[in-house]
Amino acid sequence: MAKHRKPTLDRRQVAAEILKHRGDALVVPGLGAPTWDTAAAGDHALNFYTWGGMGGAAMIGLGLALAQPKRRVLVITGDGELLMGLGSLATLGVQQPRNLAVIVIDNEHYGETGMQQTHTRLGVDLAGIAKAAGFRASGTIYGGAQLKAWIPRFYRQPGPVFADIKVTTQSAPLVLPIREGPALKNRFREALLGAKAFE
């Protein structure tokens, strides 16, 4: 197993840097800190914040990407959330959605539930798994320059694209977006589909 490399990036800065370039992209943040990070980068009707359904973020992204092939879809989730739905990487690999990127903000710990180490701290290589599952681009990101080089790929490279971004365990102030399910769903669908959302 490779020697552990200490993460240095800050999760909030990473999320803000990525989302600064979002344009008309559709964003699915995984539950917990990635939802707070996405909200902190600026609330948006085309964010479908998840507050539950752990392990489902990548699959929500797939359903959305297939339904909206002309729009870019970003799933921004955590290492624990993705580990709970690891099989979904295989399902995404089979479907090959060209407009989907799965981005893991990986602090190698379960930050919402007691800071226990996740499998990624113990040697599991998510980018390697994604690559083996058939993602067209996959990498682990440790530094700011590397992140900068990857950001255009999140939005433009034919997907599925996968990135595991290593961040510190430094926690940031809670930024809580709206949380009622129907409100989130209706806000998102109205922004995307217009009046058809309520047919």
């Binding site: 559709l26 699915v28 392990g55 699959m59 297939l66 339904a67 399902t91």
Partner: protein, 162 residues
């Protein structure tokens, strides 16, 4: 069932392998207006349906009753968000079953699905399948709810271990 899904303009059909659904899966795979999406576990199809609906498409999940338990927490998201989901479930562990390990989940299928807010329609006879799937689809997509059609092992037949 394929005709009903087509009439109701279902676009994303997710499934885990199932001999009871084998013919439907083949029809979906051959239908250019539908996307066949094989899953590694049933709950993926529940989350997929959320994304599909957010994007303006209808999704259906094909599975066996053995997988109902896998879906429970993800169905909580569907329930909270009022996302329509149609699940077509072939029963295992029931009529004429040989494999004892299938029986507990079979017994728990209806109570666990109902406990997480899924409307359950049971079908015991082949002649009722089409109208039940159609009614379940209308209920799901018109009222934004999760609806499961449980198709009896009496119709699909118990797996033969020989």
């Amino acid at each position: 069932m394929h005709r009903v899904l087509s009439e109701q303009r279902v676009r994303q059909v997710s499934y885990v392998p199932d001999s009871g659904h084998a013919r439907l899966i083949n029809l979906v795979r051959a239908d250019r207006s539908m996307r066949a999406i094989p899953l590694t576990t049933e709950e993926e199809g529940v989350a997929l349906a959320v994304g599909a609906w957010l994007g303006g498409e209808k999704s259906v999940l094909l599975m066996q009753s053995s997988g109902a338990g896998n879906c429970i927490n993800m169905l909580g998201m569907v329930n909270e968000c009022r996302v329509p989901l149609l699940a077509l479930v072939t029963m295992r562990g029931h009529w004429g079953e040989f494999n004892p390990w299938q029986v507990p989940m079979s017994q728990a299928t209806v109570p666990s699905l109902e406990a997480i807010g899924v409307v359950v329609h049971k079908v015991e006879h082949a002649a009722e399948v089409e109208e039940t799937v159609a009614a379940a689809g209308r209920l799901a997509f018109n009222t934004c709810r999760a609806v499961a059609v449980l198709i009896s092992q009496r119709i699909v037949g118990a797996k033969q271990f020989k």
